[in-house]
C-alpha cells in the first residue's frame, strides 16, 4: 500500500515503514539505545530526504523510548535520580550542540563531520565493548558462573566532591562525572542527530560503573527528554517533522520496543553487550566504507528550497 507523505513529499510503501519501525523498536528495547543511528541510514535508503529523516526520527525515538521506559519502570530498573542528573547535563549539552551545528553548517562540510563523528565514536565504542564482553564471557566459561565483575574506577572519581547516593544503581559517587557524561552526550547527540544511547550506555557501564540491568532503563528515560527537545527544535525551525511518517514508524516501533524489552531481560548482560557491540561495529564499517571507497556518482544534489 503506497502512501504519500505530506512533509517528505514522497510516496512510499506503508507496510515497509511499519516493518522498519518494528525492527528498530526491538533493538531499541533490547539495548536501551534510541535506534537513531540505525534508523537514519535505513530511511535514507527508502528515499526519505535526509532533513526529514533526521527530524522525524527524533520524534519516533520519543515514542519507542517512552514505551520502553514504562516497561522498565514496572520492573524497577530505572534510576530516576541518576537519569535526572544525566538529563540536566544532556539538555545543556544539546542546547550548546545545536549552536555548534549551526556554525559548522555555515562553513559547509557538516555532512562529513557528522559521518566522521559516527565512524570514530561507533568504532571506538563498538570495539571496546566487543573486547570487554568477549573477555567477560570467556571468564565466566573458564571459571564457572557467579564471577564478580571487578569495578576499576576506585580512584579519582570517588575522590570528587558533591557525593550523592544513587540507591537503584547501588552507587555513592560525585554528581560531577554523570553531569559531564550527560553534557558530552548531549553535544554529540545534537551534532549527530541521535538520542545518544549508544554512547550513554557504555559510558554508564564503564565510566560510572552502573549495573547493566539499570543502565538500559535509565538511558531510555533521559533519551525521551533529549529527543523531545530536539523534535520541537526541528519542528519550529526547519518544518521537517513528518507526522504521517512518524505515525507509521511508531506503530511498528512501540510494539517492537515492548518485545525487545522482554527479550532483553531474558538475556545475559554479556550477551546483550556483545550483540550491541557487533551492531555498532557493523554500522561503523558501512559508514567507513562509504568514506573510503570511490562513490559511483561523484556528484550529489542538494535542494535548498523553492523559489
Amino acid at each position: 500500500m503506497q502512501i504519500y507523505l505530506p512533509i517528505a513529499e514522497v510516496s512510499v510503501n506503508a507496510f515497509l515503514l511499519v516493518g522498519l519501525g518494528g525492527m528498530v523498536g526491538i533493538l531499541s528495547g533490547m539495548f536501551g539505545v534510541g535506534g537513531g543511528f540505525l534508523m537514519t541510514p535505513l530511511l535514507f535508503m527508502v528515499g526519505i530526504p535526509p532533513a526529514v529523516a533526521v527530524a522525524t526520527e527524533a520524534n519516533i525515538i520519543v515514542a519507542s523510548s517512552f514505551s520502553g521506559v514504562l516497561a522498565h519502570l514496572r520492573r524497577k530498573t530505572v534510576d530516576l535520580k541518576m537519569g535526572g542528573v544525566l538529563l540536566a547535563g544532556g539538555l545543556l549539552g544539546a542546547a550548546f550542540g545545536v549552536q555548534v551545528f549551526a556554525i559548522l553548517k555555515q562553513s559547509g562540510q557538516v555532512d562529513l563531520l557528522v559521518k566522521l563523528c559516527y565512524v570514530v565514536f561507533l568504532g571506538i565504542i563498538g570495539s571496546l565493548m566487543f573486547v570487554e564482553s568477549l573477555n567477560a564471557i570467556r571468564r565466566s566459561r573458564a571459571k564457572g558462573p557467579a564471577q564478580k565483575i571487578v569495578r576499576r574506577q576506585r580512584g579519582w572519581i570517588h575522590a570528587l566532591p558533591f557525593k550523592m547516593k544513587f540507591r537503584t544503581s547501588g552507587l555513592y559517587i560525585s554528581v560531577i562525572p554523570p553531569l559531564l557524561v550527560g553534557l558530552f552526550v548531549g553535544i554529540l547527540a545534537a551534532i549527530m542527530g541521535v538520542g545518544g544511547g549508544f554512547i550513554m550506555v557504555p559510558a554508564m557501564i564503564y565510566l560510572l560503573g552502573m549495573p547493566t540491568k539499570v543502565v538500559v532503563g535509565t538511558s531510555l528515560f533521559q533519551i525521551i527528554f533529549v529527543t523531545g527537545f530536539t523534535t520541537l527544535l526541528h519542528a519550529t525551525t526547519n518544518y521537517t517533522v513528518d507526522m504521517v511518517l512518524a505515525v507509521l514508524l511508531l506503530v511498528g516501533g512501540v510494539v517492537g520496543a515492548q518485545v525487545g524489552t522482554r527479550i532483553g531481560t531474558r538475556m545475559k548482560a554479556e550477551q546483550l553487550r556483545i550483540l550491541l557491540a557487533l551492531m555498532v561495529l557493523l554500522v561503523c564499517g558501512k559508514l567507513a566504507l562509504d568514506l573510503l571507497l570511490q562513490p559511483a556518482e561523484l556528484f550529489s544534489l542538494g535542494v535548498d528550497g523553492e523559489h
Binding site: Y4, P6, N59, A63, T231, T236, Y239, V247, E297
Partner: protein, 255 residues
Amino acid sequence: MLRFLALLVALALPLGAAVAAEVVVADLSQDRVSISTSFDGSEILVFGAIKRNAPEPSEGPLAVIVTVSGPDEMVTVRRKDRRFGIWVNVEGIEVDRAPSFYAVASSLPLDRALSETEDLRWKITTERKLRAVGATSMAADASAFLDALIRVREAVDVYTTDEETVRLQDATLFSTEIALPSALTEGNYDTRIFLTRGGQVVDSFATSIYVQKVGLERFIYNLAHDRPLIYGLLSLAIAIAAGWTASAVFRYLLP
C-alpha cells in the same frame, strides 16, 4: 498565472501574425492534480490537432514536441574528491532555478524535430532549459556540474526525454502521455506544445497543470508551516500516547 498569460500573448502575437498557415490546438486530460494520501503518481494525456487554412506545406518534416516543467528550485551540485584518503565534497555550484521536474516528448527524434538555433531560442531540451535558467558563472567547469545534475535526475526519472512518444496521425491529430512521478512538489507545471517543420518552430501553445495537496495532506502541511510549535507538541503527544498504549496493551496481554 499572469506570467503565463503574458507569455501566451508574447508567443501568439509575432507567430500568429507571421505564420498563420499551421496552428496548434491542444488540451490536457486534466489541468489539476490532487495529491491525496494515496497519491502514487499520475499520467496526463496531452492531445490536440493542427489547424490549417491552406493545404499542408510540403517542405521539411512535421513534428510535435511537448514539454512539462515543474516549479523551479535552487539546487546545489557538489563534487566529491579524495582528500587524505577519504571522499569528501570539494567544490560545488548553485543552480539558481532548476525545474523540480522536466519532461520532453516528441514525435520525431529531437535532432530532426528541432534545429540548434530554435532550441536555443525556445529552451526546449533539458540541457538548454537548465543552461538558460541556471546562474553558473562560479566554477570554471560549470557545464560538468550541469551535466551531472541532468544525469542524476535522469537516473531517477525526474528529468525525462522520450523521443518518438508523441503519436501523430495524418499530420493532424496528436497525443501523448506524460507520467508525473509520485514524489511531486506542489505548484504550477508549465506545459508547452511546439509544432515544428523542418526544425523551425511554426507555432506553440502553452498551458499549465496545477498540482496541489488536498485533504489530510493539505491540513498537516499547513499546520506544520503555520503553527509549528503546536504541530511539534502534537507530534510529541502522538508519540507519547503511542508509547503508552503499546505498553498498556502488552501489560494486559503478557503480564
